[in-house]
């Protein structure tokens, strides 16, 4: 190799070396301090817990170790400590602890969240005693007597209460009664009197905020035939976008504001709780809801308070809060248009099915045409399905833009239930009462009259073949046009 060649080779390698040094410089500048395994320091007491529980419940400890609590130095005893006056305090390895960490305990450091949560309907979820659902779980489906567990219905213990929350009872020895615990229902009544359970959404012991932002968290309870919010979300464009762009959602970010930290899609939390650039996070899930879609007849969310003479946030203000979130992705006319459509669907359900059916049932109950025992007659089940299942599906489907749930799981099934089951069953029950000429015969006649009046309304007339001629020919023409699509016609 000649001298000159050597010089060129040195030059080339030298340039490569320079390039490597530039890469080194770039790496140095991009070095992030975050992401390394940080030292964890907790109190001596908690260290003892960790030492023992690393072998008895290793995953639990590891989850805690990966949590923000561990990073901040919050250890076992900081949450599980108990005073002698606590009902559920018991001595474990020389320390007084409580198994249940209630929202009151969490509020030592998270008081703002707890305050918002306590005023929400989530916190009241456990107050379903005396409701129709509870009658179902405790009497109709279950038993609190000989087949009960400590006087509670297993159907409720394993079913209803696991979402709604139990009333935790403490036994003589300070340990919780197995019929009421384990339970992390969101409306659990804790031994210290506080309402709710933070772990319902912020699963322990990692308490990761990204878990609570996932639709699956809400979907543990908000799903199923009577309120398929999770399924509705997944059908909707919102859910599709979430599934497609989940990697862009930055579920771990703090703060987590739609339009700023993430723009790909909304989750349940996005609309119902999370922050925007001009709205703070709220754990009061009712603050952005305008309609109460739960009861047989939907009403505005502040209606009950107004009736009781209380001052609460008006439904208009709450709707504006929700619109604040919508507006991060949608234009004002789009959002207003949606609400117009949505309101019309609720009003349709209310006026066509909800109110009439409820009026009929109330008349039948008051007049003794229906027995005072709930759910002992087919009509009661039919009515229940109508408003509690199909009726809710139609309303929820409309509320979250899931056309299939609104229509085929919704209004279609509401209509079928109403016309093919409810109406004939009412007629049958009333005619039976009239035939028997008992004390309820008069009431039965009034019911039939009412039913007739209802069915003669414009929206129900078709059932009595009283559609206007104009309407009939229009429908026929459309049907003929449609049949031309298929070869068989």
């Amino acid at each position: 190799m000649s001298l000159n060649t050597k010089r060129i080779v040195i030059l080339i390698i030298g340039v490569f070396f320079l390039g490597a040094l530039l890469v080194v410089g770039a790496v140095e500048n991009n070095k992030r301090v975050v992401g390394k395994k940080a030292a964890i320091k907790i109190s001596q007491t908690s260290k003892r817990c960790v030492e023992c529980h690393t072998s008895t419940s290793p995953s639990l400890v590891e989850q805690w170790r990966n949590s923000k609590h561990a990073l901040r130095g919050v250890g076992c005893i900081d949450c599980h400590e108990a005073q002698k006056t606590d009902k559920d305090a018991w001595e474990h390895e020389g320390k007084l602890i409580a198994v249940i960490v209630s929202p009151a305990d969490c509020s030592k450091c998270h008081s703002k969240e707890n305050e918002q949560f306590q005023s929400s309907h989530h916190a009241d979820a456990g107050k379903i005693l005396g409701s129709l659902d509870n009658v179902l779980a405790e009497v109709v489906e279950g038993n609190t007597g000989r087949l009960g567990l400590d006087g509670q219905s297993p159907a409720a213990i394993n079913g209803c209460w696991q979402c709604h929350g139990s009333v935790v009872k403490i036994m003589e020895n300070g340990r919780p009664d197995p019929s009421t615990w384990p339970n992390t229902g969101i409306g659990r009544i804790n031994p210290d009197g506080s309402k709710g359970s933070c772990t319902a959404c912020h699963s322990r012991h990692q308490f990761s905020v990204s878990v609570s932002r996932q639709p699956d968290s809400c979907g543990k309870c908000h799903m199923g035939p009577d309120h398929p919010q999770k399924e509705i979300y997944e059908e909707s464009k919102h859910g599709i976008a979430f599934k497609a762009f989940k990697d862009d959602m930055k579920l771990d970010a703090q703060p987590w504001r739609v339009g700023i930290e993430y723009t790909a899609a909304p989750t349940c939390a996005t609309c119902h709780m999370s922050a925007t650039d001009d709205m703070e996070v709220t754990h009061d899930v009712g603050r952005r809801i305008s309609w109460n879609l739960r009861p047989p007849v939907s009403e505005k969310i502040d209606a009950k308070a107004i009736k009781a003479g209380e001052t609460v946030e008006s439904w208009e203000d709450r709707r504006d809060n929700m619109k604040n979130v919508c507006s991060k992705c949608h234009s004002e006319s789009y959002v207003d248009g949606f609400y117009t459509q949505f309101d019309s669907a609720i009003n349709l359900y209310n006026d066509k099915f909800g109110k009439p059916a409820t009026e009929i049932i109330n008349m039948m109950k008051a007049g003794g045409v229906l027995t005072p025992t709930a759910f002992d007659e087919e009509l009661e089940w039919t009515y229940f399905y109508l408003w509690h299942h199909e009726g809710r599906r139609a309303r929820h489907g409309a509320s979250m833009m899931a056309p299939d749930y609104t229509q085929w799981h919704g209004f279609f099934e509401v209509a079928e239930r109403f016309y093919i089951h409810f109406v004939p069953e009412v007629k049958k029950a009333c005619r039976k009462a009239i035939r028997r000429k008992g004390s309820n015969a008069t009431a039965a006649k009034e019911v039939l009259a009412k039913l007739n009046e209802i069915l003669n309304r414009e929206e129900h007339q078709w059932f009595l073949s009283k559609m206007s001629q104009e309407e009939k020919s229009k429908r026929k023409a459309a049907a003929e046009e449609f049949k031309k699509r298929y070869a068989q016609n």
Partner: protein, 352 residues
């Protein structure tokens, strides 16, 4: 012609250092035998260059490293994570050490298979073997200074093995450990060995090695294409210096890229109360480690001492073999098997 300013300055210096500058120039520009134009003869210079790099990067690391059990790990962590370019200097140091061992083994192989250890170069071979063991010592002590789990337990295992050597073992292990168990004394001792004793020894030995090479001349080979050349040598400066410069730049480039792609990492902090499930030494000790696992204590230790002895006294063993079996190239055969054996044990340990 008028004298330039540079010449005036040089004259000033030359007048004050009474040396025959002309003679110096001639002596230093020693003619280099032609075969050194072949790159695989550069394998000796490469570890020397790397040694220089280790000294420089090592000194840099010394600015931040603290040799106490409490601070050692933290200081290494600080270098790796907090000090600017600390990760780079440390990674250079780590990869240079790995490369140094690889190239020194290749150099030994080259010398061995070209029979360059034969008379009159036996002494130089033995100096070279001592250099090799010194480098291994540097590797062992250097790695133990990190004081993570692997460091600590490797030091424990290493000193236990030393303990098992017959007669001198217990004294040796006590000396290395500075006591009955690995602790603060051990760390400071290993530190002294790594930073002062081994480098000083290595520098002296390498100096001696190069002096021997210069005195004996490099074993001359004549390749066919060179038979016709008029000159059997070529100048050190600038030709061979440029060759070495290429080597230096190449090494710097490779090391920098290794530092970026595979930066030196850090295991868990040393915990004397918790032995990790898998303890492994550095890769160059794999063969030795595997050998110990396969044999009992005595055969393991004595076998290795025997192996080291064979390597050290090889020129003389080779002499005997040549006399006994002149027809066969025994050195090549034995070398081949020995080398393969080392490789097999190394790979075997690596994959289990």
């Amino acid at each position: 012609m008028s004298e330039s300013k540079i010449d005036l300055a040089l004259d000033w210096v030359k007048k004050r250092i009474p040396v025959d500058w002309q003679e110096l120039k001639t002596i230093t520009n020693e003619p280099v035998p032609n075969h050194l134009k072949h790159w695989w003869f550069a394998l000796g210079g490469t570890p020397a260059i790397l040694f220089g790099i280790q000294i420089v990067t090592g000194i840099f690391l010394l600015f931040y490293y603290v040799p106490t059990p409490e601070e050692a790990y933290s200081s290494v962590s600080k270098i790796t994570h907090e000090v600017k370019f600390g990760w780079y200097i440390r990674s250079l140091h780590k990869w240079a050490s790995e490369l140094m061992i690889v190239t020194v083994i290749l150099h030994m192989a080259r010398v061995y298979f070209t029979n360059a250890y034969r008379k009159p170069r036996e002494l130089n071979w033995m100096v070279g073997v001592v250099i090799f063991f010194t480098i291994l010592g540097l590797g062992f002590t250097g790695y133990s200074l990190i004081y993570d789990q692997l460091s600590y337990w490797a030091a424990v295992v290493g000193t236990e093995i030393a303990h098992s050597v017959p007669i001198v073992g217990p004294f040796a292990s006590d000396f290395i450990r500075g006591g009955p168990e690995v602790g603060a004394n051990t760390l400071t001792r290993l530190y002294v060995f790594h930073v002062v004793i081994f480098p000083a020894a290595l520098a002296s030995l390498v100096g001696l090695h190069i002096i021997f090479v210069r005195l004996h001349g490099v074993t001359e080979f004549e390749f066919d294409e060179e038979k016709s050349l008029k000159h059997k040598t070529y100048p050190l400066f600038p030709d061979h210096v440029m060759t070495e410069l290429i080597l230096v730049m190449l090494i710097f480039y490779i090391l920098s890229m290794m530092a970026v792609i595979f930066p030196a990492g850090l295991g868990e902090r040393a915990n004397p109360l918790s032995t990790p499930e898998h303890i492994k030494p550095e890769w160059y000790f794999y063969a030795s480690f595997k050998w110990l696992k396969l044999t009992n204590v005595y055969l393991g230790i004595l076998g290795q001492i025997f192996f080291a002895g064979v390597i050290f006294f090889w020129p003389f063993i080779d002499q005997i073999l040549v006399k006994l079996l002149p027809k066969y190239e025994m050195s090549i055969i034995i070398g081949f098997f020995g080398f393969t054996f080392y490789l097999v044990l190394t790979v075997w340990e690596a994959i289990t």
